[in-house]
C-alpha cells in the first residue's frame, strides 16, 4: 500500500491527482482549511477505491503549527511514499504594489510556509531514504514580469530551494520533483479570460503522475511551456524591461 500526503488537498489539481491514485491501493492523508470540502474529497476517493483517507483541516500558512502537524503525520503514516504540496494563492499584483504587508503575506503563503514544511518533510524523507516530494511551483517563477512578480518571486525562490533540496536528497534515494504548470483552468484563475494555452487540472494531474513515475526533476505542464519560458528567459533584460508581459 502507498501512503500519499497531500497539502492543499482541495485544490483542483490536487484533487484530480488524488483521483488518479485512488484505485491504486493507496492511503491518503489530506490537509486543507475547509473540513466540509475535505470530506467531499475524501468521500469521493473512498468510492473510487482508496484504502483509507485521513483528513485534517489546518491553515498551512500558519508556520507555528508545522512542527506539531508533522509529528501527527508521522504518527499516523509510518512511511510517506508521495508528498504533494499543492496549495497557494494567486497574488493580486496591483494590490501588493500598494501594500507591503500584503506582499509579505503572499510570499509567506506561496514560499515561506512551503519552505518551512519542506524543511520538516525533507528530514522525514531523508531518514526513510525513499519516496517522492512533489511541489507545485509555476512558470511564473522563471522570470520576473511586471504583471505578477510577487507571485513570481515566491515561486522562483521555491524553485531554487527545491534545486538545493534535490541536490541534497538525491544521494539518499529521495526524488524531488518541481512542477511548473502554465495556465490552468481552476477556481484560482476563475476570473481570467481563457484562451488556447489553457488546460484542465485533469491533464496537469496526469502530467504529475507521469513525472513521478519517470523520476523527472523539473516538469513543465503542458510540455510546451518549457519552450515558451526558454524564449522568455533568452530575451535580453534591456529589451525585456520595456515589454509588458
Amino acid at each position: 500500500m502507498k501512503n500519499i500526503l497531500i497539502l492543499g488537498a482541495t485544490s483542483a489539481i490536487a484533487e484530480r491527482f488524488a483521483q488518479r491514485y485512488a484505485n491504486q491501493d493507496c492511503r491518503f492523508y489530506l490537509v486543507s482549511r475547509n473540513q466540509i470540502r475535505l470530506d467531499n474529497v475524501a468521500d469521493d476517493l473512498r468510492v473510487r477505491g482508496a484504502k483509507d483517507v485521513i483528513t485534517e483541516s489546518l491553515d498551512l500558512t500558519e508556520t507555528s503549527g508545522h512542527n506539531h502537524f508533522m509529528t501527527s503525520v508521522i504518527g499516523r503514516l509510518e512511511h510517506i511514499d508521495i508528498a504533494l504540496i499543492a496549495y497557494g494563492s494567486l497574488s493580486n499584483q496591483p494590490a501588493c504594489e500598494g501594500d507591503s504587508e500584503l506582499s509579505l503575506k503572499e510570499l509567506n503563503t506561496n514560499c515561506l510556509s512551503v519552505i518551512s514544511l519542506l524543511t520538516l518533510l525533507a528530514n522525514v524523507f531523508e531518514k526513510q531514504a525513499s519516496g517522492c516530494i512533489a511541489v507545485i511551483s509555476s512558470v511564473a517563477g522563471d522570470r520576473g514580469r511586471q504583471s505578477n512578480y510577487i507571485y513570481g518571486t515566491a515561486k522562483g525562490a521555491l524553485t531554487i530551494f527545491l534545486q538545493g533540496l534535490r541536490n541534497r536528497l538525491d544521494r539518499k534515494g529521495v526524488h524531488v520533483l518541481t512542477i511548473k504548470p502554465g495556465f490552468v483552468d481552476t477556481p484560482m484563475t476563475q476570473d481570467f479570460k481563457k484562451g488556447l494555452l489553457w488546460v484542465s487540472p485533469k491533464s496537469i494531474a496526469k502530467g504529475i503522475e507521469n513525472a513521478i513515475k519517470r523520476k523527472k526533476d523539473t516538469v513543465y505542464l503542458p510540455f510546451f511551456w518549457r519552450y515558451i519560458m526558454l524564449i522568455i528567459k533568452f530575451i535580453p533584460e534591456r529589451i525585456f524591461k520595456r515589454m509588458s508581459l
Binding site: I36, R37, N40, D43, D44, V47, R48
Partner: protein, 435 residues
C-alpha cells in the same frame, strides 16, 4: 460574455459563464441562471442567451456507492462514462442509458433521457431515488418519490429550470458481462417493423431500428432492426474507453452531405452483409458515436438539427409514413434515423418526453429556411396525431407546438426558480405563438 452553442451548433448565443466547484457553494446572485453540464443536448435547452450559465463539470465527485445494492450517489456534473468506469467492474450498469455516455448525471435527470430499453425500464427518471435541489433563495430541497414529491416530479424532465440539481442518487442494474449479444434483421417497410417489434420485444431487453429515410414508394420505411441483451459470459475485465479515441478535428465542408451521398450510404448500409447474431462490446452497442469526438463537425459550420417525435401507437403507422414521405420528398438527407417503440410506463416527470408510442429521431444538416420549413411541416403532422417533440433535441419548435405537446407546462411554471431560465424556455413560452 462568451460565445456558446450546444451539440447541434445551432443556435449560437452570447452568455456569461460562472463555473461551480463545490456542492456546498451558494448560487451566485444573478437574475437569470441555468446549470450547464456537458452541452450534449442539441438545441437551446442548455443555453441562456444574454444571461448566465453555471457549468457543473467540476461537480464531479462521487458521494456514496453501495456495491451490494447497486445504489450510487454522485454530484450532478459526474458523467455517465465516469459512472460506468466505476461500477461496471463491480457488476453494475446504468438502468437506462442514452446513446452517448458523455452526458452529465444532472443533464440526464433534467432531460429525463431514455434508451433502447424503454419498453422495459422506462426513462432515466424511473431509476432516480433522490436528489438535492438548490434554489436561488438558498433553500436545499431533498427530493425523492416520498419527500418533496411535487418538486421531484417537476425537476425530472424539468430542463434545469427548477433550480440547481447538486447531487443525484440512482439505482443501477446488475450485469455479469461487458458484452452484449446482438441480433440484426432487415425489415422492408413500417408495417414489417411494427410486426417484427412485437415479436422481438418479448425476448430482447434493448431494441432499436435504423431507418432509411430516403427510400420511397414500396421501400418507404425499410431498415435494420437491432436487438440486444446483456451477455452472460462473466467477462467483466475488459478495458473501457473514457475518452473518444478519434476526433473530428475540423468542420467538414457542407457539400459532403447531400441527398446523393446519403442515399448511397443508406443503400450500402442496408445491403451490407452482416452477421445476424454476434457478441459485441457494450461501447460499440450503446455508444457507437462516442468513438469520434466532435462528430457534430461532420455537418459543417452551420450545424444541424435533430428532430425526435413520439406518436401514439394507434396513429403511428399513418403519421410516420407521412413524416417519412415529407422528408423523402424534400430530399433533405438524414444519416441517422432511428425508430423505437416506447413502453407503457408512466413518465416520471411532469414534462417528460417519453410516452407510449413510436418514436422517430433523425438529424438534418442546417440548410437554413428550407430545413426550418420542413421541420415545421413535420410538427404539423406530429400535432395532428397527438404526438410530442423532444425539447433536448430541439432548436426551433414554435410555442404553439410546444404547448400542444406539453399541456402541463403551466402547472410546471409554478416550480420554476425565479432566477433560472433558458433560451429554450423563453423561446417556447414567449407571447408570440400563444393561443
Amino acid at each position: 460574455m462568451k460565445h456558446g452553442a450546444s451539440w447541434g451548433r445551432y443556435p449560437t448565443v452570447e452568455q456569461d459563464t460562472i463555473p461551480l466547484y463545490w456542492r456546498d457553494q451558494p448560487l451566485p446572485d444573478k437574475p437569470s441562471m441555468l446549470a450547464y453540464g456537458q452541452g450534449r443536448s442539441y438545441g437551446d435547452v442548455c443555453l441562456n442567451d444574454g444571461a448566465v450559465i453555471l457549468p457543473t463539470a467540476n461537480l464531479q465527485r462521487f458521494i456514496q456507492f453501495d456495491s451490494d445494492k447497486g445504489i450510487l450517489r454522485a454530484e450532478a456534473g459526474v458523467t455517465l462514462a465516469q459512472i460506468l468506469s466505476l461500477v461496471m467492474p463491480k457488476g453494475w450498469f446504468l438502468a437506462v442509458t442514452p446513446g452517448t455516455k458523455f452526458v452529465s448525471l444532472g443533464g440526464a435527470v433534467a432531460n429525463d433521457v431514455h434508451g433502447k430499453n424503454h419498453h422495459r425500464a422506462g426513462s432515466f427518471g424511473c431509476h432516480v431515488s433522490a436528489f438535492e435541489l438548490l434554489r436561488s433563495d438558498g433553500q436545499r430541497l431533498l427530493c425523492s418519490p416520498e419527500q418533496n414529491e411535487d418538486w421531484f416530479k417537476a425537476t425530472i424532465g424539468g430542463l434545469g429550470l427548477t433550480g440547481l440539481i447538486s447531487w443525484v442518487e440512482i439505482k443501477l442494474k446488475p450485469i455479469t458481462s461487458f458484452h452484449i449479444d446482438q441480433q440484426v434483421c432487415c425489415f422492408a417497410n413500417l408495417e414489417e417493423f411494427l410486426a417484427l417489434n412485437d415479436v422481438m420485444e418479448r425476448d430482447w431487453e434493448y431494441t432499436v431500428a435504423w431507418i432509411d429515410c430516403l427510400a420511397k414508394g414500396r421501400k418507404l420505411g425499410r431498415g435494420l432492426y437491432m436487438a440486444g441483451n446483456h451477455a452472460d459470459d462473466k467477462e467483466l475485465a475488459i478495458k473501457t474507453i473514457d475518452e473518444p479515441a478519434l476526433t473530428m478535428p475540423v468542420d467538414a465542408p457542407g457539400f459532403l452531405l447531400n441527398r446523393y451521398t446519403v442515399k448511397s450510404f443508406n443503400t450500402l448500409y442496408y445491403q451490407k452483409p452482416r452477421k445476424h447474431v454476434s457478441n459485441v462490446h457494450y461501447d460499440s452497442y450503446f455508444y457507437p458515436l462516442d468513438k469520434i469526438a466532435h462528430w457534430n463537425r461532420m455537418y459543417g459550420k452551420r450545424g444541424f438539427f435533430q428532430y425526435q417525435c413520439v406518436i401514439p401507437m394507434a396513429k403511428s403507422q399513418h403519421a410516420l409514413s407521412q413524416i417519412l414521405q415529407a422528408i423523402a420528398k424534400s430530399g433533405q438527407a438524414s444519416f441517422l434515423s432511428v425508430v423505437k417503440k416506447f413502453g407503457e410506463n408512466l413518465p416520471p416527470g411532469l414534462l417528460s418526453f417519453p410516452r407510449p408510442g413510436i418514436t422517430l429521431a433523425m438529424d438534418m444538416a442546417n440548410r437554413g429556411d428550407k430545413t426550418l420549413r420542413l421541420l415545421d411541416q413535420l410538427d404539423e403532422i406530429t400535432m395532428q396525431n397527438n404526438g410530442a417533440v423532444y425539447p433536448a433535441k430541439d432548436a426551433r419548435m414554435s410555442g404553439l407546438a410546444y404547448k400542444s405537446y406539453y399541456p402541463e407546462w403551466q402547472t410546471f411554471s409554478q416550480y420554476i426558480d425565479p432566477k433560472f431560465s433558458s433560451s429554450f424556455w423563453r423561446r417556447v413560452t414567449s407571447s408570440t405563438g400563444q393561443q
